[in-house]
Structure formats: structure tokens, C-alpha cells
Amino acid sequence: MTTQTVSAKSIKNVEKESVFKDTFKRILKNKLAVVGLVIISIQVLLAIFAPLLTSYAPDTQNLSARELPIGSEGHWLGTDNHGRDMWSRIVYGARISILVGIGSVGLGLLGGVVLGLLSGYYRKLDGIIMRLMDLLFAFPGILLAMLIIAILGTSLVNVVIAISIWSIPNCARIVRGSVLSTKKEEYILAQRSLGSSDRRIMFKHILPNITAPIIVFATMRMATAILSTSALSYLGLGAQPPTPEWGAMIAAGQDYMWTSPHMTIVPGIAIMLVVFAFNVVGDGLRDALDPNMDLN
């Protein structure tokens, strides 16, 4: 018996690894997704090690070294209109965009998954929840966010809240759709015939089986969230100065387009790269998590 459990244990590890490995292997086959992963990793590293990677604080001004161009001594990405180091601002901005992305997507998922599960599983709740979602859905996203910010006030935290509320209907729909199709699967029926409780079925059997679309949604949504945050900051509804939020940096730099275009172009490229990365990784994950995809 002892030998058996030992061998069983080693099997366990092998198998666990292989499911994870499988997806990872598939992702690695997708060159674009690898590029995305690299960009995201760089962003995460920048975010974590920001203080080590910069020699200035992102909000330290030097009014006598304003609008230095790219490649200036001591400021390889130049400085902005207050003489702040662009490189530190970009690096600290990476932190913000990651946090905002995770925060808003996380909150949105929380709401969306619960509502989606309930409405997909219980027919009776379905009508009410989905009508509510339709209501939110009929607002163009930015507008919804603007209204929410108008009520809550302008701040990055409120942007996170606004974007997460805006993600809820999307997420709920996706989850509901997956629940509806998963609910019909025979293994769920099998579970019901065993006499499992609804809660157990929902959280132990349906939820793990719809993680793939949720993960894909979350990754894609990170991209949208980052983009929307910057759009809101651009409209002056997001990050408060001197927060080095990339969208706010673009907005601030826009007036200097003609004299110091790097103030706009650098954060613009940063946003684009990161959003691109999340999009390609999302795409790659979708393909990798879809067992029906033939890889060729």
C-alpha cells in the first residue's frame, strides 16, 4: 500500500504538470503570443523593479531641464514639460497600467462570473439579470464610464470601478453562454443524477470547465481596460497629476506635439505595445485552450 501511494503521488505531479505544460507548449508554438508574453513579462518586471530601474522619481521636477529630447544626457527618453524624466514616468506608468488592468478586470470578473453563473444556471433569474445587463450594454462603454465617474468623482480608483462595471455585462454574457452549453453536457447531467447540490455543480463542475473562456476574456479585457483607462485619463477623467499614467501623459503631451513629440509618442507606443501584448496573448490562449484547434 505504501509503495502504491508513493507511486500515485509521483503520477500526480507528472499529470498536473502536463496539463499546464500542454497549454504552455501550445502557446509557445504561437510566435505572436510569445512576443506578447515577452512584452507582458517586461512590463511586469518594470512594474516590480521600478525603483531600481530609474534614477529619478517619476514626479521629481526640474523646471530648468524641461522638454529635453530623447537621448539627452541623464534622460535617455527625454523629459516632459516639467522636466520630469520620461523613462521613470514610463516605468512607473507600467505599474499603474498593470494595477488598473488587474483591478478592473478582477472586479468585473467577480461581478460578471457570479451574475453569469446565476443567470445561466437558474432560468428564473435569467430574464431579470439579462435585462439588467442589456441595460448596461446599451450604453457605449466610454459613456457609461463617464457617467459613473461623473457620479463618483474623478480618480484612478473610480476609473477602475467604472471599467469593471462596464465589463460586467460582457463577462456575464460570456459566462452565461458557457454555462448554458456546459449545463447541457452529460457530465453535468451525470452530476445531477448523482444528487449533487446546485452549489456544488455550479462551482465545482461548471466553473472549472468554463475557465478557458473566462481566462481568454480576462486577458482580452486587460487590453480593453488599459486602453479605456488611458482614454479616460486623456479626457481628464482618470489619473490625477502627477500620476504617470500613460493616457494622461499623452493628453499632457499633446499640446507639445510640435515641439516635443516624444512626450506623446513614447507613452502612445507604451500603451500600444502593452495592449497589443494582452490581445495577442488572449488570442494565443484562446487557441491553446481550445482542444479542437489543430495546430499546424
Binding site: K12, E15, E185, Y187, L189, S193, L194, G195, S196
Partner: protein
Amino acid sequence: MSENQAILKLDQLNKHFPVRGGLLKRVQNHVYAVNDVSIEVDEGDSVGIVGESGCGKSTLGRTILRLEEPTSGEIWFKGENITDLSERKLKKFKHDMQMIFQDPFASLDPRQRIGDTIEEPFVIYTNLSARERKEKAIKLLREVGLDETHYYKYPHQFSGGQRQRIGIARAIALNPEMIVCDEAVSALDVSVQAQVIKLLKELQDEYDLTYLFISHDLGVVRHFCNKVLVMYLGNMVEWAPVDELFDNPIHPYTEALLSAIPRPVPGNKREKIQLRGDLPSPSDPPTGCPFHTRCPIATEVCRQVKPEWREVTPNHFVACHERG
């Protein structure tokens, strides 16, 4: 345990699915999936339920297990009426009734290890410790011809036959008395199919199981069952012990069905009874005898009046105006 005591009794069981539509999603119509089914199943029986696709076999099976709420009629299990029991009270009976599904690739939770899948019934119904559960699960795995190395694997790592064995292991985990097999072997290749049928038979001998064996493969039914219910468009057509039914089919539908089966004997070109047309829609069933639109011997009466359910010879029931 005394033989020949009815473990399951269905009395005028109906299951109609509402079809919604229109502006306010009102019920516009019904799919008459199961109509007035009344049979008695004895302990130790293997009852075959056969019929064409969409004739309500699966729905009947699910309704019996109360996975679908019956529209009307009664279900008696082990002498008790379980038709209207609440979920809580039903749990006791669910323990004794299990189900095996058709699709070996869909009936196992792809994200759950085989071990967890098999332990699931213990988690729901018992307070066994993880260790005890695992021991039991491994015992079950052995019983269905697998071994403990499979315990930590995921369903996709198994072949169809192996998966079906896992499904069986899960179904017998709680020592049930009745198992509904919904097309349990249809998706398997013949060589594997034979393995699974053999396993099911062995288990029946060992645990005194009663099977409701839903299938459209009459060959398998003949081989596996001792009683057969033929259904057509949600209605009972014929109900008899297996040899009686295959040797002396009475209903023209049963006859046609039997004659249509290709026999694995070359050169044996028998005269087939060809049925006209297709199965009518179960949401718009014909009046009178449901089979009259395709019946070679239908008369005016068949078009008007629904035939009665009659015992033509002992234990041989039929619903037909013309025969018997």
C-alpha cells in the same frame, strides 16, 4: 431478496416539454416526448427500451430518475411513490438509482481527475475520510478493469471504452439497485462494445442490479435484456420478454424495426418491411394511432382512435387495433 418484486412501477407517466415563442415567450405548443407510459420492472430485470431517434427514450429514462419533472403520472420506486418528493427526500432514492450515459467523451468532467470523479458519490452521500474514499475508488477501478495508476489521470487520457468503464465505476459506487443506461454502448466500437456489455453483465450478477437499457441497437438488446419496451413517438408500442418480442413481434412497427436490421450474414437477403416516410414531429403527433401515418396495415380506425394497451398473450402487451 425475493425475486420478481416490482422495483419500478410507472403509472401513466407523461413528459411534455413546453415550446415557447412569440412576443411574450408564451407556451405555444408542447413536445409530447413521453405519453402515458405504464410498465412494471422487476428486480434483476434488464429492460431494453428501443425505438427510433427522438421517440422519447432518453426523456423517459431521465424522468424516471427525476432529472426531468414528470408532467403527470406516477413513478413508484421500491414500493414508494417518488413522483412528488422534494429534492431532499429524493436524495435517499437517488442513492439507489444511477445512470450511465451515452457519450463516453462527454459524461466525465474533463477538469476532474478520474479519482475525484469516482469519489464524487461518496463526497455527496457519505462522511468518509479522503483516505477511505480513495481506497474505495481504487477498489472500484479494479472492479471495472482499470487499476490504481489511472486514479490521477484526466478523462482525455483514456480511450472510449475505458471512459465508459469509469462511468460505470461511478454509477456502481453507491451500490445502487437500478441503473439507467442511456445508449451506454452505442458510441463504442464493436470490439469494445462487447467488452463493456460483458462487464455490465458481470456486475449485474454480482450486485443484483436492475437495468433500464436504452438503446437503438436491437442486436445488443436481444443479447443483453430480458424484457423489451418498444416506443414510438413517445408512446408504448409493445412490451414483452425479449425472446417473445423478437420471435413473435405483433405490432407492425416492431416487425418493421426488426426486419430493417442488417444481419451480419452475407447472402441472406430477406424481404424487408419498408416503412413509408419519416417520423412525424413529436410536437404535432398524428391523431389516433401515432404510427398510422407509416403503418402498412393502417385502417380508418387507426386514424381516429388511439389503440388501447392490451395484454395479448401473457406478459406480452401491445397497442394496435389490427393485430393481437
